[in-house]
Symmetry: C2
Subunit: 435 residues, 2 copies
């Protein structure tokens, strides 16, 4: 019998604040970072990898939170563990003592997600398949068993979920073939960081459209007149070739969001993302009613399925933006994908940071094949940034994510990158040129 | 000039799981714990104390989160720091990197609250006053300046808050005198832990009523028939002398909460507390509409002012249960007290655990003197437990909290208790009799 022998956690930080890539109205100087997790087995075979993304300070707290979970997995029978990741997710989520630290939110919940994701990565590696294919091969009953319906069964029961999945089962093979042939649409955020000047925005927007992107995103919310100017520049540069979405990164209160978007409406943005606090379900509903027909999107900071449930049941959002590292891992994201499908709202995953593209593409591809059954009105966020640090970096061509074929969930860092960017003792942080 | 010289954090845990005090449907075996914080000054004078309460495992994560905040206070001019705690609260809450770990929720937010509370404790000690009196002596304009209205100004503007506080200013002196003479009503949870048998519940309920309590609370949500039986026992034992409130500790989904309360309605419970996830604003609204006239209460796990805002603006709750350690400290609790007053909803603070009574009484007393202006329909939770570890334990007599007169915010632990219960190396944890 093979057992889990260790849960290793490493603090890895990239000094991205040096060149303002990733700058927005709320995060002026992020250092994209990861609490990097490796589940090792005592036969020295496949290891399960995942990461908990942060923006720098506090990455050590994330590491501490993940380490707290080691006793729940170390020593476990690997075959049993990977055969029912949902059981582990429930054990961690409902632990009578740890639960006080959330419940189901913040650092502790993200740490649970990181461990859950590492077990899914391990399972996919053992099966020799990319995670999206592992998930998309599960029978509907098995997918339903992986989900914790607590607090959402007033709008989505296991029976509802089963019916939804079963209804889409016949088309899985055809959509898998389409996915492998054509991939899924991406949108790019690389053109519109708040720290870029107008000329750089125009140049990057033109290049993105030429590269085949049909959707671009601009950061807004710092200064209204500057937003008007940058959006005009981007709109002209994009021409008829691409939609432009906007992202305020929670900068506004409800009334301010409505007033600000009134000024930007003439540029016909495709959506406004994070117009206010991710916790404000009712506020999103008020904003959505006021800014129609501009869509309202949120999710990268939405803490769990309970808040997504309310955003959907109250019709507060038009676009669900799941994140691979925010909630309790793959299992809770399965619940969120099914909630979105139940309400007919498209999922456009949040990505960027470090490793988020590599991880979340698997969930989007599973969604396409087994849940939503469509790529209409759906794009996966793409940021051309830090992919070189992964053993299996995403491949985006002509504005589309190609379906990965390498085994696993995508989050495995290269050994050389870990050594270079380990915080605080890696050369990237000890050499005098760095912050 | 006096400066902050250190932010000390100690992991202190009490092995309360040994005798099932504190057991409820969600927390079967808590070990009440604290990330204990001491802000030291370089003149060796007064130190600022506070704690972040947890239920055991993960207390080390809470300690790590607090330690991350040391650079924001160590080296600061004490006089400047205590003169505007709101400025520090904003700096910590809106830090561009740390914010990713919440935002404004979970361990990181509780850690911010712990540091903010330590600074308020330091201020009160320097002024030689109990915290409630420091707060209740601030002019309305100064209280308003201490509050971050971001994300709540759609229902409560600084002008609204100022008008509310100014309207109650004339009565402050009389209410301060009344408070010092009579204290404020308490309710007790000590009689109704889920781990107690019927005979113990009956005996403790009778004793509580004899002791002067006009409100008692029972834990429910484990098993319906057992709840019916225990509630009947308690109802008989309490007689006409006291209300009985119920607490489900988030055990139910929305539909289950409604069905369960239908069975318990005959015993006329005063409120049902935490019937479902604290994140489910809409769910609380649905439950409240269904269980009337039984009141719905929540708050001890409500993560921040944004969620309280929605619970209040949508009329989802009848009772606001603030907690001293859950949100971003005194300053965010000031916002929550004002939101409750704006909607005319009484605040009945959550307490118990370790140190929560000692801390939250100050907020309730400030509320009585300066915000709500009434004690009608308001009780502060009281659990007769672990008070002996504090230098200034609460005094509850004839069912009422007496107004503390000792300087500070109440959370200072005795040195001997810290030494005994420090985890994992204190004698309480290294002796073989302990878990």
């Amino acid at each position: 019998m093979t057992r889990i022998s260790a849960l290793d956690v490493t603090d890895v930080r990239f000094p991205t604040s040096l060149d303002l890539d990733g700058s927005d109205a709320m995060n002026p100087e992020p250092d994209y970072s990861a609490a990097y997790v490796v589940l090792r087995t005592d036969d020295g075979g496949a290891a399960g990898c995942s990461l908990l993304f942060t923006t720098g300070r506090g990455n050590d707290v994330a590491c501490a939170a993940v380490r707290t979970l080691a006793p729940y997995v170390v020593g476990r029978d690997v075959a049993e563990l990977v055969s029912d990741v949902g059981a582990l997710a429930r054990t961690l989520t409902w632990d009578g003592q740890l639960r006080w630290l959330g419940p189901e939110k913040g650092v502790m919940h993200m740490a649970i997600g990181a461990v859950v994701n590492a077990v899914w990565d391990l399972r996919a590696r053992l099966e020799g398949q990319p995670l999206w294919r592992v998930l998309a091969s599960l029978p509907p009953e098995e997918i339903v068993r992986q989900i914790d319906f607590t607090y959402i069964d007033d709008v989505l029961t296991p029976q509802d979920a089963l019916a939804l999945l079963a209804g889409n089962e016949a088309g899985r093979a055809a959509r898998t073939a389409a996915l492998e042939a054509e991939g899924l649409p991406a949108y790019t955020t690389s053109a519109g960081w708040l720290g870029y000047d107008d000329a750089k925005v125009a140049r990057l927007v033109r290049r993105s459209v030429a590269d085949g992107f049909t959707m671009l995103k601009l950061k807004v919310g710092g200064d209204l007149e500057s937003d008007v100017r940058r959006l005009r520049v981007a709109r002209v540069a994009a021409g008829e070739g691409a939609h432009i979405a906007l992202d305020a990164n929670q900068r506004w209160g409800v009334d301010q969001a409505i007033a600000w978007m009134e000024r930007l409406a003439e540029f016909e943005p495709y959506w406004i993302e994070e117009p206010t606090s991710p916790d404000d379900v009712l506020g999103h509903g008020t904003i959505r009613a006021a800014v129609r027909p501009i869509r309202v999107a949120t999710g990268e900071h939405v803490q769990n399925r309970v808040v997504f449930k309310q955003l959907l049941q109250s019709g507060a959002i038009d676009v669900v933006q799941i994140d691979a590292c925010r909630v309790g891992g793959v299992n809770e994201n399965l619940a969120i994908l099914l909630l979105a499908a139940r309400f007919g709202v498209p999922v456009c995953p949040h990505a960027g940071g470090v490793g988020l593209c590599e991880m979340v593409q698997h969930l989007a591809m599973f969604d396409f094949v087994a849940v939503a059954g469509s790529s209409e009105g759906r794009w996966i966020e793409y940021v051309d940034h830090l992919h070189e640090h992964f053993t299996d970096p995403v491949v985006v061509e002509r504005g589309r994510y190609r379906a990965p074929s390498a085994p696993g969930g995508g989050a495995r860092l290269r050994d050389a990158s870990i050594a270079e960017f380990r915080y605080p003792d890696g050369p990237a942080w000890t050499s005098s040129a760095q912050p």
